[in-house]
Amino acid sequence: MKVKAQNAFRVSVPPRSSGVEIHSAMQALRDFQDEVHLHAGSVQFVTPREICGLRALIEHAAGVADCVRFDCPVNDDVHRYLARVDFYADLPANVDLSRPVPSLRRRDLRQRLIEVVRIRTPDDVEDLVGRVWGVAKGHFGIGSLAMACATAIAAATENVIDHARSPIGALVCAQRYQQTGLELAVVDLGRGIPTTLRQNPTHRGLTDLRAVERAIEDGVSSVQDQGRGAGLAELVHGVGRTRRSGLRLSSGRAELTLGWENGRRSRNLAVPAHPIVGTWLAVRLEART
């Protein structure tokens, strides 16, 4: 992130974002700004995680600034791709784009991607899960991979609407790649996992790292009800059922990365460079079992 000595608050997105500049900007953009300028002109590649994160940043900025200027990628392919995934759809009224959004003759890519979708209600979750289930079955057949897709989307998005109190709901996006399989992301700007979990007196003293670590255990919840606390555990279980997959869960001052390959699980828990507003989830599933 670069902040220049001008009236506008400026954020530069590198050619291949890892999300760091987005987290940093989210933290910095707490107070009112006249103008926020998001420079994404040099972006060359975006994954569902960064698409959702960038869109969340735009909406967050639009809420604290009079005007948001978004420099669209200069690369036509990237710009068209963002248009294709509805990144530019229904932007807040105070957001200006540097380039017109291309009018696309849409091919039916429903088997390959899920455009940016906003989830606010249980009905939204059901609609999305129904679609994901159809896409996953169509491509992968009925089996653990399709089940993992639907379970992950359902568990993650329901968790957001039940607990997060995110002002933008949950933003969801998914893309299938030939080389790396399916990637899907769920991003919200809610209270985050640590804050939510610490509402339960049992977990009040947990650090952010321990809270995120505990949150994926079955039965661990922000409420004291025996039947609750399955969502993130179910997500992890679903993703772990596939032969090769990965999961990255970031919230507050914690980032948990889990990987599975041929029955072996790897795990890394780290403090991110910048605290993460809300919760970011990214899931990668192998192309085929």
Partner: protein, 183 residues
């Protein structure tokens, strides 16, 4: 035998809210079932469910039965595929509950089973209509232990409980196995 179709074909059922709405619907249907009869929860065609959906629909119906709701009639799961069964097992185990299901071989089995429940179910199916002391004799346990097991068996939906007044006064419960094709 009343039948409640849980979902249309090729469905993945998600969310606690959807489970809650469906549970209310099922409770409406259970109210129409005659005492001593059973409602079949037909999961055929449903390819997957989430834990939250299963908890809100099945586990909370069982919890209600545990508290006495519709305990005079049965409730049986049928047509659940492998993935749905796995999720239901997990849902029930988390709450330490059990539900009766008809498997692909048309045989009754317990989901979320506690070890001793299968033996008790078999005894109930042999007796068909019985008292707690008769079940105790059949299984070879104390009447108190039989009552404890019957509480779980009634909640599971396999057995209906009816209250009677014995000749000497007071209250006495009789039990009836209500699993379709096994009752």
């Amino acid at each position: 035998m009343e039948r409640y179709k849980v979902g249309a074909s090729s469905m993945f059922l998600a969310t606690r809210e959807r489970g809650r709405r469906m549970r209310e619907d099922v409770e409406g249907r259970l109210a129409q079932v005659a005492p001593g009869d059973a409602l079949v929860l037909d999961f055929s065609g449903v390819e997957g469910i989430t834990v939250s959906f299963g908890d809100e629909l099945v586990a909370k119906l069982i919890l209600g039965r545990e508290s006495g709701d519709f305990a005079d009639r049965g409730m049986v799961i049928e047509g659940a595929g492998e993935d749905v069964r796995e999720t239901l097992e997990s849902v029930l185990a988390r709450r330490k509950l059990a539900a009766v299901a008809i498997n692909a071989s048309a045989q009754p089995e317990m989901l979320g089973e506690q070890g001793w429940l299968r033996e008790t179910l078999d005894a109930a199916l042999r007796l068909q209509s019985f008292s707690a002391s008769q079940l105790a004799g059949q299984v070879g346990i104390t009447p108190q232990a039989a009552n404890n097991r019957l509480r779980v068996l009634v909640a599971s939906g396999a057995v209906a409980k009816e209250r009677g007044v014995p000749e000497g006064g007071g209250k006495e419960f009789s039990y009836r196995a209500v699993i379709p094709a096994h009752a």
